[in-house]
Amino acid sequence: MAATTETVRRVKIRPNYDHVAWKWMRYSALLLIPLVWFHVILQDVIVGVHAMDLNYVAERWANIGWRIYDAALLGFAMAHGINGVRQVANDFIKGERARVVVSWLLFIFWLVITGIGAVALVAGVRQNFPLN
């Protein structure tokens, strides 16, 4: 084996958009596992969809803690999911322009859905008064 000298040169690479997006996927995922699993086990398995009505949501959201919990779910899960769709889409789309167009469409879709959810979360259940 020929003698070789090895020099290690450390290079600092400035993170680009996809680097940040990738990190977002991982860190939001670690948070989403407890958030989403607990939400699913509680609502789908323990409470069950048959026990739900408008009052159920109103009582749940009367507690600010649950609203914050749901806000975290909305913020992290929706962004994680839409960025995931973008990654899958990039697998199928190779043109640079098409990728930019799809990314923007997904961003607008994310903004609209998150906006709708945020409005409902802040405003709460619309009830007719007096309550019966």
Binding site: I33, D44, V45, M52, D53, V57, I93
Partner: protein
Amino acid sequence: MSTLKTTLTGYTGYRGREGHYAFLLHRLTGLGTVLFLAIHVVDIALVYIYPEGFGDVLKLYQSTLFGIGEIGLVFCVFFHGINGLRIAYFDMFKPGGWEIAKQRNSTRITLIGTLILWLPATFFMLRNILIHNFGLFGG
């Protein structure tokens, strides 16, 4: 369109067995979950936007067809989470584990873990459907 064909042929034609199935399942379960999530945000937002219609949406969710979909959704959520943990674990702590034998083994463990969480959940959700939609077990 040729890229679509190339990607799809790669998805289906690659014979990587367990590691490959884990990749495909991760994508399918992720896409399935985000599709439901977008619908779910809007249907819950109805409590403010159109509360009169919220009951009708719940009726739809309580139907047997949607109940089966719900059971599928819970599988997606559990699998996507555990498989995501598996990927993060290899990436961050065991980069040497990215080889075929370890991938096959860890994928099997992922599936077993998913079933351990999913089967009891399925039992309760199925029981709920049988009680409320079929009048069984004193429903």
